[in-house]
C-alpha cells in the first residue's frame, strides 16, 4: 500500500472498509445512498448561498464520521479535487469583481487583489465539490462489493454494464500487477523518485501493466467463450428496494432541493 499514492483512495482499502467494518451507514440500502448522491449533486449545483453550502458540507462530514470512517485519510484524498479548485477558483478569486481585501498586488496585467466576492466564490466552490466527494467516498466505503456490482449492473446499459463489471473485478488484479512491478524495480535499486531520468523505466512499468491487461483480456475471452458467454453477465444477487422510511428520506431530499431551487433561486411564485 505504501508503494502507490496516498492522494488517491486505494480501491482495496475502500472495499476493506465496506466489507470488514460495520457502521450505521453499512446498513443503509445501497439504492438510498445512490439516491442521496444524486440529490447532493443537484443540491450543490442549485444552492446559491455559502451558509447553506457550508452547512451541507458540515452535515456530510458528520455523516462520514458517524459511519465510522477515518478523517485522517480524507485530507490526502481531497488533494485531487482541490487541484481543480485551486487552478480555477484561485484565479477567479483575484478576478472576481467586488471590494478588494487588503492591498493590491501589482502585476504586468494591472493590479490584482482578492475580492470578498472572489473569496466567497472560492469557499462556495470548495464546499460544493467536497460535499459530493465526501459523500461519494462515504457511500463507497460502506457499500459491499457485491452490492456495488449489482447497482452498476442495473444502472448501466449493455454493454457498458459488462465493461464496468469486468473493470470492477480486474481493478484489483491490475493494481497488484502494477504494485509488483514497482516493487521489483525498487528492489533492484531503481530510483523512482525522479521522473525524467527514469522515464523509460516508468514507460516499461506502465507498459507492462497495459500489456498484462491486454493479455489477460485475451485469456479472459477464451474463458468466457468456453462457458458460452453471449454478452451477458447477469447478476442474480439482489439489492432489495429501500425500506419505506429511507425512500421517504430520499424523496424528501429531492423535494427539498427542487423546492428550494424553485422558490429561492429561480423565484417561481407560489
Amino acid at each position: 500500500m505504501t508503494t502507490l499514492s496516498n492522494h488517491v483512495p486505494d480501491p482495496r482499502l475502500v472495499t476493506a472498509f465496506a466489507e470488514r467494518r460495520d457502521g450505521p451507514l453499512h446498513r443503509v440500502n445501497p439504492w438510498t445512498k445512490v439516491g442521496i448522491v444524486g440529490a447532493l449533486a443537484l443540491a450543490v449545483t442549485v444552492f446559491d448561498r455559502l451558509a447553506l453550502l457550508a452547512g451541507l458540507y458540515g452535515a456530510v462530514l458528520v455523516v462520514y464520521g458517524l459511519a465510522g470512517l477515518p478523517y485522517r485519510r480524507l485530507a490526502g484524498w481531497y488533494s485531487l479535487p482541490l487541484l481543480f479548485l485551486v487552478s480555477v477558483a484561485v484565479p477567479l478569486a483575484f478576478l472576481e469583481p467586488g471590494t478588494s481585501i487588503g492591498g493590491a498586488l501589482p502585476t504586468p496585467l494591472g493590479d490584482l487583489s482578492v475580492t470578498w466576492a472572489g473569496l466567497v466564490l472560492f469557499a462556495e466552490l470548495s464546499c460544493r465539490s467536497l460535499t459530493v466527494v465526501t459523500f461519494a467516498l462515504t457511500a463507497s466505503m460502506t457499500t459491499k462489493y457485491t452490492d456495488v456490482a449489482y447497482v452498476l449492473g442495473r444502472l448501466l446499459p449493455r454493454p457498458i454494464d459488462q465493461i464496468a463489471l469486468l473493470t470492477y473485478r480486474f481493478t484489483f488484479v491490475m493494481l497488484e500487477t502494477l504494485e509488483d512491478l514497482v516493487k521489483a524495480a525498487r528492489s533492484r535499486g531503481a530510483n523512482l523518485s525522479e521522473f525524467w531520468s527514469n522515464k523509460r523505466l516508468y514507460a516499461r512499468i506502465l507498459g507492462m501493466t497495459m500489456l498484462s491487461a491486454i493479455e489477460q483480456s485475451e485469456r479472459l475471452v477464451k474463458s468466457m467463450e468456453a462457458r458460452g458467454y453471449d454478452g451477458d453477465i447477469t447478476l442474480y444477487g439482489d439489492v432489495s428496494r429501500p425500506p419505506f422510511h429511507e425512500l421517504f428520506v430520499v424523496a424528501g431530499s429531492y423535494v427539498a432541493v427542487v423546492g428550494y431551487a424553485a422558490v429561492a433561486v429561480y423565484g417561481v411564485g407560489l
Binding site: 462489493y145 470492477y168 473485478r169 488484479v173 462457458r227 458460452g228 442474480y236 444477487g237
Partner: protein, 267 residues
C-alpha cells in the same frame, strides 16, 4: 502444431505431460474449440468439430484454464458458478440451485458469497472447476490444475478429479507433476515440441526411458526409487502407495530396523 491425434474415451482420466512450451495448453484449447486447428479435424463424441459445431464442443467440454484469475468473471463466487448456466438460459432459481450443488461437489460451498479477488489460489481453482462442472460437460479439461497450490490443496484437487471420473465424466489434464499424473491418470500422453511423442498407461510411460528423455522429463520419484533400489521390474510401481506396498512385500521377511511405532505398513 501438426498431425496431432488425440482421443478421449468415456470415463477416463488422461494426463498430458511435457516440458514448458511443449504445446500442452495449445492442444487442450483445441479440445474446447476456442482454437480452430489450422488443418485437420477435431472429433468430440464422434462428431467432427468444425466452425458450426464449435458451440456444441464448448458445451460438451468444460475448461478450467491455467490462469485461475481469468476464469472468474463475476462479482461473487455464486454468480460466477451461475455464469455458464445463465448463458444457457437456465432460469435464475434453478441455476442457483445447481450452482450450489456444484460448489458442494468441490467442497467449496462455504465460499458462495465470497469475492473472487480475495480467494486463495487453490480456492480460485476449485471455484473455476465448479463453474465448469455445473454445465454437466462430458469432458472436463484442466490446464495445470496444481499450479501454485500447496500439498493439501493439491490433494483436494486430486480427490475431486477421482470423484468427477466416478461420476462418469472424462477428464483431460495437463501437469508438470508426474507423481500427480501417476496417481490420477488412466492414460498418460507425452508431448514434446508441439507433438504427441507417445502415450499409454502410467506404468508403460513412466518406465519408457527413451520416451521420457525425448520429452525432457524425469520419471516420478517412486519409479526412480523402485528402479535404483532394484525393485519393481515385474510389478512396476508408479505411485508412492504402490512403492510402499512393494517395499513392505520386499522387506517383510527381514525387518532391517526396529519397528516404527507410527508407521502404517506391517514390518
Amino acid at each position: 502444431m501438426h498431425d496431432v491425434e488425440f482421443s478421449v474415451y468415456p470415463d477416463e482420466v488422461v494426463a498430458l505431460v511435457g516440458g514448458n512450451g511443449a504445446g500442452k495448453s495449445t492442444l487442450l484449447e483445441h479440445l474446447n474449440g476456442t482454437l480452430v486447428p489450422d488443418d485437420g479435424d477435431l472429433v468430440v463424441d464422434g462428431t467432427p468439430i468444425t466452425e458450426d459445431v464449435r458451440a456444441r464442443a464448448r458445451k460438451a467440454v468444460g475448461f478450467v484454464f491455467q490462469d485461475a484469475d481469468t476464469q472468474l468473471v463475476a462479482p461473487t463466487v455464486l454468480d460466477d458458478v451461475m455464469f455458464g448456466l445463465q448463458n444457457d438460459g437456465v432460469p435464475a432459481d434453478e441455476a442457483r440451485e445447481r450452482a450450489r450443488e456444484a460448489l458442494a461437489t468441490v467442497d467449496a460451498g462455504h465460499l458462495e458469497d465470497r469475492i473472487p479477488h480475495y480467494l486463495s489460489g487453490g480456492e480460485k481453482r476449485l471455484v473455476g472447476l465448479a463453474g465448469v462442472l455445473v454445465l454437466e460437460p462430458s469432458v472436463v479439461v484442466l490446464d495445470e490444475p496444481l499450479a501454485g497450490l500447496d500439498p493439501e490443496r493439491s490433494q483436494l484437487v486430486a480427490e475431486r478429479v477421482a470423484k468427477i471420473r466416478e461420476d462418469g465424466i472424462s477428464v483431460v489434464l495437463s501437469t508438470h507433476d508426474l507423481e500427480f499424473a501417476a496417481e490420477v491418470a488412466d492414460r498418460v500422453c507425452v508431448m514434446a515440441d508441439g507433438n504427441v511423442a507417445g502415450g499409454g498407461t502410467p506404468r508403460e510411460v513412466f518406465y519408457d526411458d527413451a520416451l521420457l528423455a525425448a520429452a525432457n522429463l524425469h520419471p516420478p520419484s517412486a519409479v526412480r526409487v523402485a528402479r535404483e533400489a532394484g525393485l519393481g521390474t515385474t510389478t512396476k510401481p508408479v505411485t508412492g502407495t504402490e512403492l510402499v506396498e512393494l517395499l513392505t512385500a520386499a522387506t517383510d521377511t527381514k525387518p532391517v530396523q526396529t519397528p516404527v511405532a507410527d508407521a502404517d505398513g506391517p514390518t
